[in-house]
Every structure is written in structure tokens, then in C-alpha cells.
């Protein structure tokens, strides 16, 4: 069995657990069994995290999120769902925000990754982090690193003219409006419901009025 084929099956295994509902009795168990019975496939990967080059040898099934959290001890990126449904794991890779739970670490060879830890630390907060504190853009704080990484990337997207559903004209340059921000931030769930404050924080950083 070649490595690519193994990767394929392993990812399928991931999906089966994801579906969980009928996992135990599912007919596809035999395939997953083949994957599980083999020793894990390890692969080397190197990328830059918050400006530092990191080299890892990882189980190829390891998501970027788990590589950050479990291997690099960067637990600022949160796991809310592990299925691309909540945004808590948002990090910025090569200038774009992504759900780090939805991508395997080994896919990011040579990538430049910015996590919440790379934006700022207590005592030297990024303006977006400071604005979240000032506007109380969180309660429990679990969605917060994802919200902040997303917000930082959203302002860049608007600056770069990337259109969104909120704009009436996709060819016009998007503006920092509450509607634009709400639309673009909607992949980041805050069950504590601090949305109204989050939009105020982002708006302040963007230099506008909500």
C-alpha cells in the first residue's frame, strides 16, 4: 500500500468518526479497520509559525490545529468542533484565514502561519486584541482567538477588494460597514453572543463607526 493510498483511507477514517452517529455499526468499518490496524504513517513537515521555523514529524492524519495545539503547545487556537463548523480554530496561513481543523498539517510545507499568539501577548497586544478587551468582545473567551484572527484577516480582505455577499455590486470596492463585517465574520460562532461588541471592536480598529 503506498503512502498516498494510506492517507486517503486515513482521511476517510477521520470522516467516519466525524459522522459519529452510526460510526460503530457502520458498514465501512472494515475499511477504517485496515487504516487503524496499520502503524501510523509519519511524515516530516516544516513551516513557519509566528515567524519561527518549526520542523515536525507528524502522523499524517494530524490536522494543522492539532499540530499547533498538541505538538507545538500553541493552545490559543481553539477546537470547538473539529469539523469546520464554528471558526474557533481560525488561523492565518499565507495571509488567508482558514479553519485549521479542516486542513492537515502536512499540507502546509513551507507555509507561513500566524496564530493568536503571534498577533500579540498580554502587555503587547495587537490593536484588534486590545479593541476586543475594550469593547468586551467576548465572555467565556473560547471563540475569541478565532474571532480575532478572522477579524484581522477580514480587514485585509476588505482592503484587498475581495467581494462578499453583503455588497450589492461585486465589482465595487467593499467598504468597512457593519453589514460587511457581520457577513464576513459569520463563520465564527460566539455562543456567548458577544457579536454586537465584536463588531464595535472591529469597526474601531478599522477606523470607522459601527
Amino acid at each position: 500500500m503506498d503512502a498516498a493510498h494510506k492517507l486517503e483511507i486515513s482521511r476517510r477514517g477521520v470522516l467516519i468518526v466525524g459522522a459519529a452517529a452510526s460510526a460503530v455499526a457502520a458498514p465501512s468499518v472494515s475499511e477504517a479497520q485496515a487504516a487503524g490496524a496499520d502503524a501510523p504513517v509519519l511524515a516530516k513537515v516544516a513551516f513557519e509559525v509566528n515567524g519561527t521555523r518549526r520542523e515536525l514529524e507528524l502522523d499524517t492524519r494530524t490536522t494543522l490545529l492539532d499540530a499547533l495545539r498538541e505538538n507545538l503547545n500553541l493552545t490559543g487556537s481553539k477546537k470547538g468542533c473539529d469539523h469546520g463548523q464554528c471558526g474557533a480554530c481560525t488561523v492565518i496561513v499565507d495571509g488567508r484565514r482558514i479553519n485549521s481543523c479542516l486542513t492537515l498539517a502536512v499540507m502546509h510545507e513551507g507555509g507561513r502561519i500566524t496564530t493568536i499568539e503571534g498577533l500579540g501577548q498580554p502587555g503587547a497586544l495587537h490593536p484588534m486584541q486590545a479593541a476586543f478587551v475594550k469593547h468586551d468582545g467576548f465572555q467565556c473567551g473560547y471563540c475569541t482567538p478565532g474571532q480575532i484572527c478572522s477579524a484581522v484577516a477580514v480587514l485585509d480582505e476588505i482592503k484587498a477588494g475581495v467581494p462578499s455577499h453583503a455588497g450589492a455590486d461585486v465589482t465595487a470596492a467593499p467598504q468597512v460597514t457593519s453589514d460587511e463585517l457581520r457577513e464576513r465574520m459569520s463563520g465564527n460562532i460566539c455562543r456567548c453572543g458577544a457579536y454586537s461588541n465584536i463588531i464595535e471592536a472591529i469597526t474601531e480598529v478599522a477606523g470607522g463607526n459601527a
Binding site: 460503530v24 487503524g36 476586543f132 455562543r191 453572543g193
Partner: protein, 738 residues
């Protein structure tokens, strides 16, 4: 400290620190990712093993056989724990179903095993190899079918299940204007962002759990009970909690299975419940069927008020208390409430934010809107006309006054600020461009209970004040309001206070639940600070009754000294608990509010957009308006969710919640929520606690969904009594598009 007389003037009344909209003191940790949540404690468990939980895939029945062989042989697997090999595992007093099932299965996704492996990926892969054969038995999963067999529960939080006053039937029959409506609310999920998670480590016979739990001392006792060990051998640590909403009041499978897994593996084990498992594995707010009957005179005086509610739970479970606010909100001489509980085999129903009132307002406050329409009366006016200052239905107990009740002021202030006068009472008339626009209002009631709460406060030689209590901050702002309390009491700036929470080694607090946390836990800190002030004054040779604590100094008469001097020979410690006497028996402690909502509805698709929201709250002294406001907007957001989208869909054949993840259980996202306004009325309540405070976190959700529903009716003229109000339920009744 006993609190059995109304508070007089005390150091908190200075309001130099308390009452200020201070930023959260733990904010920088949270926004930088430095706040450690349960699963992330590398510092205490550097190389843990990973657990993957397996949930049952039948709604009810038995495990016939389980083949663990292939999973055991899978790479990296250390151990697999099942009910069969776990040794004796009991049931917690707060749990309705066992946290590890087998051979009997009580509900879908009840945990039946945990696979422990060297890595997360290995545990997850091996969990797929466990083969289980089940024998399914028939279960009851349909509340509407089970309703007729529902029985009166023994107890309802806040009183007996049934209450009656005057002659409801006679008065209702004779009433000039009537409403008789039935409403349904579906099952709801807490869906907090941090999954239930635990790291467990044993040292000999001592167990430490780094977990995510709202109630440390309850949890400690429950773990002891479930694992059959002395409570003193259990330690729970929970300094940061990624949301709870009632879903983390109790010990759940992550904690028990991590403990069992760690014992079997001989090393620390960590588990986060997989998101798709959480909804059926843990608890949820139960669905309700509610019938509300209102009778009134032509001039809008309510003469008869009746509320019946049905909900379901597993055998031995609890009802939803949907009738509760109906005993409190409006005057009427003839009244009845009744609660019935059906046995269902769905996962365990339990508390979720404002249990009872959250669902109850969804029915009662729409019924009031219907009555206003029947009367041709403004719904704000109707509510004001039927105000009362005594509990209108004490459910058999002697009537008592509310300690504070500013419902009328909430309604009037809100109407004024929201521009209620601009509302067209005729539904379907107001337009903004192509959008149909409507406004809705609802009243809000939520009790303001208090619970015994203890704290320890230390003063060190550098003048730092360190507070320790097992109280939790679930996003509520506890760190900050406790620091504000200690700073005010000891006369130091906020920066001189450190707060340590959520550790069972600390004095036992009220914990976070039932909206009692803020008022109770700060009162506990108040009591401990009084002890510390005494110790400081004695140490400095000052008269404790005369000592004034301000600006980092203590003074009495002509004598003065820096506070830190008192600790120059060693730390001083004050420890005490606040214990509440019978003031809550003499007065009804409650919080009140009014919610105003404006919606727009697309006339073609019936898509509902919430455009404006305002809450006016009267909830005692607001300890930190910034954090309190956030509690209320968060609750308003959740209320929009239950109005418009949240619904656990029941597979009535297989017996489980179908939409058990965050993609299919829809909660509000940014795009669903407009700018929100919150007004707190000036209020101090000396009968609740020395802080004169209450709570707001649950008040904020009460009535929101009804206000949304009423706004929808005002906008489109369609009354949907079956939540959530999705567009498929609106479309048929929408006005013809011109």
C-alpha cells in the same frame, strides 16, 4: 457572616470600584490565547494519553456483545474502558442517566466505552474498530404522543407543580375577552463553544481533574459518589470555562471516563467530547407543549390566567418549569398553573439558561400580545395595567411582596427609548422599502436566588490582596466583579488584587448557575474581606469599627498606616462565608425587564431579519455595567436563536436528535444579530445581599423570543405558535405581494 437583616450602609456603597464598567481583568489572557482551558493544561500533564469516547448508536435497549479485540490491537492503544471492565461505577445524584452505559442503554450516544491511546489520531482510529451488537427495545420519543400519559412531577423548582387560586374556570368562562392558545417549544442545545473536556491524573488514591465545570463543589461530590471514593480525595480545577449555560452544571462523561481511563492506563488521560457526540450524550433543554388561557374585562383587567405545561425526560427525570413566571408577572384573582412530565427515552433533559422561564415566556408573553390584540389595547399598556407589587400566585404559600419590582418602569423606559409610539398596531402595514417591518415587546421575569458562598482573602507584605474561592467564571465576568469587590472593601486599586477561581482546594462558593453567581459569590468575598479588615485593624492596633480603608491605607481617627504594613510580619488571611437567612422568605427576590424588538420580513420569502433590539433591566445593583451588559446581549442573542432557528430535530423512530453538530443545530451568527442596546435601571436591593445586587445573565433571555414573535406578527400579521418561527411556517400566511 449571616445575612438575615437588610443591608445598611457598608464599604461597597462607596462605589469607587464596584459599579464601574471595568474591562475584564482576565481579558488580555483570553484575547491572546494565553488563558488555559481544561484540555490545554500541558503544564500539569505534559504527556497525557488521549481518550476517544464511543457513544451508543441506539436510542434504547441493550448491548448484546462488544468486540474490543481489533481496537485493542490497533497501534498506540493503551486501554479500553467499558462498563464491563471499569469496576463499580455509580450514578451521580444530579445525573438522570448513567454516564457510562452498558449493558443497558438509556439513550442515544450514551457513552459505552473510551479508547485510550498514545495520540488523538490513534484513539480516534481505534474507536472505529470497536464492534457492538445491540438489541434495540421500543422507546417513547414523541412528546406529543406521550403527553396524555404525563404525570404531575413531585417537585418543580420554585414551588409545587400545580397551583390554583380563586375560580379559574368560572372566571375564564365569564371573561369578556379571551385567549386560549397552545404553543410548542422544541428541544434546545446549550452548544457552548468549548466541548466538555477533562484531564484526569491519579496520584495513589487521589484524583485531580482539570475540567470545565460550573459547580466545583457539586462536581467534586459527584465524582466521589460515581467512583465510590471519599470526596476529600478528589480535586477539581476549572479556572477557565468555555461557556456552560447550564450544560456544565454537572459532571459529564468526559470527567468520569478520563478518571477511569487514567486509572486503567496508569497515566494522565485527556478527553474532549467530540462535537457530534455532545448533543445526544449530554443534557439539553426539553421541548414543551404549553397551553395558556387568559380572560380579561373589556378595559384590559386580567381576571383569569391559566398556564399548563408538558415536557418529557428519562425515567426519574425532571420537568421544565415553564409555568413559573406566570405565577409572578400579572395580577389576576383567578388563576391556575399545572405542570406534567412525560417519560421519554431521549437523552437527558436538564437545566439550560433560565430553565423554565426561558420557555415559559415564549408562550405567556405571546399570549399577552394576543390578548392585547383582542382588546384593541397597546401591549405595553396592557402589561402595565396588570402590574402587581405582591406575588400574585404564591402557589399555596402566604403572599409576599417583591423586594423590588420595576417592571412598569422597564416597560415605560423601553417604550420611550425604542420609539414604541411609532409602532402601527395594525399588523402588516409598516414598510421600509420592500421590507415589512414590525415591533414587538415582552416583559421579563427571573428569580434572584442567593446561595451560601465562601472565600478566602489574603493580604501580603507587598500590599497585594489575593482572593481564593472555588467560584467559576463561565464568561460571566466573575474574575472582574470579585476583584472589584475586594478592591472596594480593602481600599486598594484593582491592580492590587489577584483572583484565583475554580479550584476545589479553595473555599466553597455558590458556583455559577440559576443567576445566583454574581450576587452570592461577591457577597462571600465581602464577608471574607470583613474578616480581613478586622485582622488588619487588630494587627495595626486600630479600632476595627472605626478603621477606614482607602487609597492603599488604613486610618482610624488620627492614626494611619499603609495597608501593607499590616502584613509586614507575615500574610494576613480572612476567610468567611455569606449565609443567607430568611429574607428571601419575607421578600420575593426577582429581576425584571422589558424587551423590545424590531424585525423586517421579506414579503416574498418571509425571511426574518432582526433589525433592532433593546433590553431594559431592573436587577439590583449592577456590579460592572460592561460585563452585565454583555451577559444581557448574549442572552438576547440566544433568545433570537430560540425564536428563529434553534431546534433539536427528533428522529421519533430511532430516538435521537438528528442535527447533533454545529452545522445542523443552527445558532445565531454575526449576520443574524444587529446592534443591541441595554439599559439598567437604577436599583439597589438591600434585602438580597450586602452587595445589594442580583443577577442578569438569565433575565436577559426571558421574553426575548416572545418579543421577536410579537414583532413578526406585527410585521406580517402571521401568528406562529410553534417555535422556531422559520419561514416555512410564515409563508402560507404572508400578505399578498402587491
Amino acid at each position: 457572616m449571616k445575612f438575615d437583616q437588610p443591608a445598611t450602609t457598608n464599604p461597597i456603597d462607596q462605589l469607587k470600584v464596584v459599579g464601574k464598567p471595568t474591562d475584564r481583568i482576565e481579558g488580555p489572557l483570553k484575547v491572546s490565547g494565553a488563558a488555559p482551558y481544561a484540555y490545554e493544561r500541558r503544564d500539569v500533564a505534559p504527556s497525557p494519553a488521549y481518550g476517544c469516547v464511543i457513544g451508543a448508536t441506539i436510542g434504547k435497549g441493550k448491548i448484546q456483545s462488544m468486540d474490543l479485540g481489533p481496537a485493542r490491537r490497533a497501534p498506540g492503544v493503551i486501554t479500553i474502558v467499558t462498563a464491563q471492565n471499569a469496576g463499580p461505577v455509580g450514578k451521580g445524584a444530579f445525573n438522570t442517566a448513567k454516564l457510562i452505559g452498558g449493558p443497558d442503554i438509556d439513550h442515544y450516544h450514551q457513552a459505552i466505552a473510551v479508547v485510550v491511546a498514545e495520540t488523538f489520531e490513534q484513539a480516534r482510529a481505534a474507536a472505529q474498530l470497536v464492534r457492538v451488537n445491540y438489541v434495540r427495545t421500543a422507546g417513547e420519543f414523541d412528546l406529543s404522543k406521550a403527553k396524555d400519559g404525563a404525570k404531575a412531577p413531585k417537585q418543580l423548582t420554585g414551588g409545587p407543580p400545580d397551583s390554583a387560586l380563586g375560580d379559574f374556570d368560572g372566571a375564564f368562562a365569564a371573561a369578556a375577552v379571551k385567549v386560549d392558545s397552545t404553543y410548542t417549544t422544541p428541544d434546545h442545545a446549550h452548544a457552548m463553544m468549548e466541548p466538555h473536556a477533562t484531564i484526569a491524573a491519579w496520584k495513589g488514591d487521589e484524583l485531580t481533574l482539570w475540567t470545565s465545570n460550573q459547580m466545583i463543589d457539586w462536581g467534586r461530590g459527584e465524582i466521589a459518589k460515581i467512583l465510590g471514593m471519599p470526596k476529600t480525595k478528589v480535586r477539581l480545577i476549572s479556572p477557565f470555562i468555555g461557556g456552560g449555560f447550564g450544560g456544565k452544571l454537572f459532571i459529564r462523561a468526559d470527567a468520569v471516563l478520563a478518571a477511569l481511563g487514567a486509572r486503567a492506563a496508569g497515566r494522565p488521560v485527556k478527553i474532549a467530547l467530540q462535537r457530534p457526540l455532545m448533543i445526544n450524550n449530554t443534557t439539553h433543554r426539553p421541548a414543551t407543549i404549553q397551553r395558556v388561557r387568559l380572560g380579561a374585562t373589556r378595559d384590559g383587567k386580567i381576571t383569569a390566567i391559566g398556564h399548563e405545561s408538558w415536557s418529557g425526560d428519562l425515567p426519574g427525570g425532571k420537568p421544565d418549569g415553564a409555568v413559573h413566571q406566570t405565577r409572578m408577572l400579572y395580577a389576576a384573582d383567578n388563576r391556575m398553573t399545572a405542570t406534567r412530565l412525560a417519560v421519554l427515552d431521549l437523552p437527558e433533559a436538564n437545566a439550560m439558561r433560565a430553565p423554565g422561564e426561558a420557555t415559559g415566556h415564549m408562550a405567556l408573553e405571546v399570549a399577552i400580545d394576543e390578548l392585547a390584540e383582542g382588546l384593541g389595547m397597546d401591549p405595553v399598556e396592557l402589561r402595565i395595567r396588570n402590574d402587581t407589587q405582591v406575588v400574585p400566585d404564591a402557589a399555596g404559600a402566604p403572599p409576599k411582596p417583591f423586594s423590588q419590582r420595576q417592571l412598569v418602569e422597564c416597560l415605560r423606559t423601553g417604550a420611550e427609548r425604542f420609539g414604541w409610539a411609532r409602532r402601527n398596531p395594525q399588523p402588516g402595514q409598516a414598510r421600509d422599502g420592500r421590507w415589512l417591518v414590525g415591533m414587538g415587546v415582552a416583559a421579563a421575569y427571573r428569580g434572584a436566588p442567593t446561595m451560601k458562598s465562601a472565600a478566602r482573602v489574603r493580604l501580603n507584605g507587598r500590599g497585594l490582596v489575593i482572593v481564593e474561592t472555588d467560584m467559576t467564571d463561565i464568561g460571566t465576568g466573575t474574575y472582574t466583579i470579585i476583584a472589584q469587590t475586594a478592591a472596594e472593601m480593602m481600599g486598594v486599586p484593582l491592580a492590587s488584587v489577584r483572583v484565583s477561581l475554580g479550584d476545589s482546594d479553595y473555599p466553597v462558593s455558590a458556583g455559577s448557575g440559576g443567576q445566583w453567581g454574581a450576587a452570592s459569590s461577591t457577597a462571600g468575598v465581602f464577608a471574607a474581606c470583613m474578616k480581613l479588615r478586622q485582622a488588619v485593624a487588630e494587627k495595626l492596633g486600630f479600632d476595627p469599627d472605626k478603621a477606614v480603608f482607602a487609597d492603599g491605607r488604613v486610618s482610624a481617627g488620627r492614626k494611619a498606616a499603609p495597608l501593607a504594613d499590616a502584613a509586614r510580619d507575615g500574610e494576613l488571611v480572612g476567610e468567611d462565608a455569606i449565609e443567607f437567612g430568611d429574607l428571601s422568605k419575607r421578600y420575593q427576590h426577582a429581576t425584571f425587564g422589558a424587551h423590545f424588538v424590531e424585525v423586517g420580513i421579506d414579503p416574498y420569502t418571509a425571511e426574518v431579519r432582526v433589525r433592532r433590539m433593546l433590553a431594559v433591566c431592573a436587577a439590583g445593583r449592577i456590579l460592572n455595567p460592561k460585563a452585565a451588559r454583555n451577559q444581557v446581549i448574549g442572552a438576547m442573542t440566544m433568545g433570537v436563536g430560540s425564536a428563529l432557528m434553534e431546534e433539536l430535530v427528533v428522529d421519533k423512530g430511532q430516538g435521537f436528535f438528528v442535527n447533533h453538530d454545529l452545522a445542523s443545530y443552527e445558532v445565531p451568527v454575526h449576520a443574524d444579530i444587529p446592534h443591541q442596546e441595554v439599559i439598567f435601571l437604577d436599583e439597589t436591593d438591600p434585602t438580597t445581599s450586602p452587595m445589594k445586587a442580583k443577577g442578569v445573565g438569565e433575565l436577559g433571555i426571558c421574553g426575548v423570543s416572545a418579543a421577536v414573535a410579537n414583532a413578526i406578527y406585527n410585521a406580517a400579521g402571521v401568528r406562529v405558535r410553534e417555535y422556531p418561527i422559520t419561514l416555512d411556517k410564515l409563508l402560507a400566511g404572508m400578505p399578498a405581494v402587491a
